[in-house]
């Protein structure tokens, strides 16, 4: 069969057939059609130009800010100094780090147990449980934020970091379980079986054999959960009110630059650039992991 196919393919490639005049863009093709190149450049431009304009805006102050110059004629770091002089900016950074680290850690501990059981152990109603867990990730955050706002104000957790970490777990935990479950599934089942034969209990097999092998999956899950918690806005804006507990997205949304003589958009842009740099580095370093995690379990076969 394959030899017939190869012969026919050779025949097609040898022949001058009319369809061969255009360049077929299959996998393995190393040179692109000019039209395709235009698409590639357009996609690159669409991804990058807005970033350029954000940086461009952050480097302008005073009159040049309103002039709409494609290149800042008098680039200045004034906007960045405004951000650095604003103590709320650093408070927000501290809050975001604490919230994201604690939420990710708690979610990962709980999720690693649950995901292992859902991926590997015999269990009743597994599919139903997974569907239930996955459906929580589609809950609108406002349905959690509204009651939490009332509960927290009554028991004094409103406008506190812990009061933000708890509801963020609502979305971090199912995301972690879902992502980890697909990673655990990829580990060969034979490993536990040989551990069982060696006399290990199921839990010992999990702890000593599977968990060490799942470290890459755990790392990927941690990155995804961290980014999602860091990015979350609705809960954060509903459940906080002071700079002492506001995380970065809320602080940026309410950032006014603290300078009366400048348009705040310059300082807001500068704050946005500063906050984006660590995330860009994270993406550059962990690109493969992020892609693997985002598509894990989503599409197979």
């Amino acid at each position: 069969m394959s030899t017939v196919l190869e012969e026919r393919r050779a025949a097609v490639q040898a022949g001058p057939g009319p369809r061969r005049t255009g360049k077929p863009l299959r996998r393995g093709e190393s040179r692109l059609h000019p039209v395709t190149w235009i698409f590639v450049l357009a996609v690159m431009a669409f991804s990058l130009v807005p970033f350029y304009w954000l940086i461009n805006t952050s480097l302008k102050a005073g009159e040049s800010l309103g002039a709409g110059e494609l290149f800042p004629s008098q680039p200045t770091l004034d906007n960045y100094f405004v951000v650095f002089r604003n103590p709320d900016f650093f408070l927000a950074l501290r809050n975001s780090v604490i919230i994201a680290v604690v939420t990710t850690a708690v979610a990962l501990v709980f999720a690693s147990f649950a995901a292992y059981a859902l991926a590997r152990l015999k269990m009743k109603r597994k599919a139903l449980l997974l569907t239930l867990i996955l459906s929580v990730t589609t809950f609108p955050a406002i349905a959690i934020a509204a009651p939490m706002f009332s509960i927290w104000r009554e028991i004094g957790l409103y406008d506190t970091l812990i009061g933000l970490i708890i509801p963020k777990l609502t979305f971090a935990l199912p995301l972690a379980i879902y992502t980890l479950t697909s990673f655990f599934r990829e580990i060969p089942k034979e490993l536990e079986e040989s551990a069982y034969i060696d006399g290990a209990s199921p839990f010992l097999a999990f702890r000593k054999v599977i968990l060490p092998l799942a470290v890459p999956g755990l790392a990927t899950t941690a990155i995804l959960v961290f980014i999602s918690v860091w990015n979350e806005f609705l809960l954060a804006v509903t459940l906080t009110t002071s700079p002492e507990s506001r995380p970065v997205p809320v602080a940026i949304a309410f950032f006014n630059g603290t300078s009366e003589y400048d348009q705040p958009i310059g300082a807001i842009s500068a704050a946005s650039v500063l906050i984006t740099i660590p995330l860009v580095i994270l993406v550059l370093v962990c690109q493969k992991r992020i892609v693997a995690g985002m598509t894990a379990g989503a599409v197979k076969g």
Partner: protein
């Protein structure tokens, strides 16, 4: 491999079955209890709150009003316009993201110099804060200093003198654009994963049969990509119906951009109407859940296939 085959291949480990089941329950229980506390309890409490009216003047004073808050919301123009605007946003942004994301995936699936760079660049918007994405597009469309408005003015094209975020229709367009910019890469990665499992032989056979590139794409690639695209559509729709960050930063919900979540937030936080705000939150919740049920009924085959593949 079917699960029956797997079962047959497994060594006999008598006694481990029960131990496994017991362990499974113990491992899942903590997460389920935690999720019950942070998801089910708040939503239950929101339902309770939504059936009451709370005194604005005196804290703690409330009375049971039954479904009044819901009836008020459902007979108000505000709810229905937020409802319509949310669905308009979802339809526009998700369809653009599916088209652009699929196009990006097709580009990323080709082998050419610079593919790695393209993949990184495409992924960058995905990683930034949604709030920053909003600010970025605000700078693009600012009346005086925006790139889009400046270029349009310079070229003498219409649109240069429009205050984009200050006019309904235009404001929605900016919000859709900001969303597409940030999340088309997500769709691209899901579709790319679907593309990479299509065997080369399929394309070779199509070529031998004289199929052109376009007919190959329509008749072979697209049907094989359907599960991936449907899955991306579901993920994106669920997310788009919850939209909040973008209108909050760009317009504070003005000029025809108020979403369901924004309306509920405004009633709750700004107007301090706990009962009414909770009712709107529950209505938002029910709307999103209803859409997911509809999706599962229509796209159930794809989801079940994916689920069976996993077991």
């Amino acid at each position: 491999m079917t699960s029956a085959q797997k079962l047959a291949e497994r060594p006999r480990t008598f006694g481990y079955d029960r131990a496994e089941r017991r362990l499974a329950v113990r491992m899942v229980a903590p997460s389920l209890i935690l999720m019950f506390l942070v998801a089910a309890v708040p939503i239950g409490y929101a339902v309770w709150l939504s059936l009451h009216q709370f005194s604005v003047r005196q804290a703690g004073l409330s009375r049971f009003v039954g479904l009044d808050n819901y009836l008020d919301a459902l007979s108000s123009g505000a709810w229905w316009s937020a409802f319509g605007q949310t669905f308009t946003f979802a339809a526009a942004s998700v369809s653009l993201e599916l088209v652009l994301g699929t196009a990006m995936a097709l580009l990323l699936n080709m082998t050419f110099r610079g593919r790695g760079l393209l993949r990184t660049l495409v992924l960058l918007p995905y990683a930034i804060l949604t709030v920053v994405s909003a600010i970025t597009w605000q700078t693009m469309f600012e009346p005086t200093l925006g790139l889009v408005t400046t270029v349009l003015r310079g070229l003498g094209l219409p649109g240069g003198d429009i205050v984009w975020l200050g006019e309904s229709g235009y404001a929605m367009a900016v919000i859709v654009l900001a969303d597409v910019w940030k999340t088309a890469p997500f769709v691209a990665l899901l579709v790319l994963a679907g593309l990479q499992v299509i065997p080369d032989e399929v394309y070779e056979a199509a070529e031998l049969d004289g199929s052109t590139k376009w007919t190959t794409f329509i008749n072979i690639t697209l049907p094989l990509l359907k599960p991936a695209i449907v899955l991306a559509a579901i993920f994106r729709t669920m997310d788009a119906l919850r939209v909040f960050d973008l209108p909050f930063v760009l317009t504070r919900g003005a000029n025809g951009t108020e979403s369901m979540s924004m309306l509920a937030y405004t009633e709750l936080r700004e107007n301090r109407l706990v009962g009414e705000g909770s009712a709107l939150s529950i209505l938002t919740f029910l709307t999103v859940m209803a859409v997911s049920v509809i999706y599962i009924r229509f796209a159930g085959g794809n989801i079940r296939a994916a689920a069976q593949e996993k077991q």
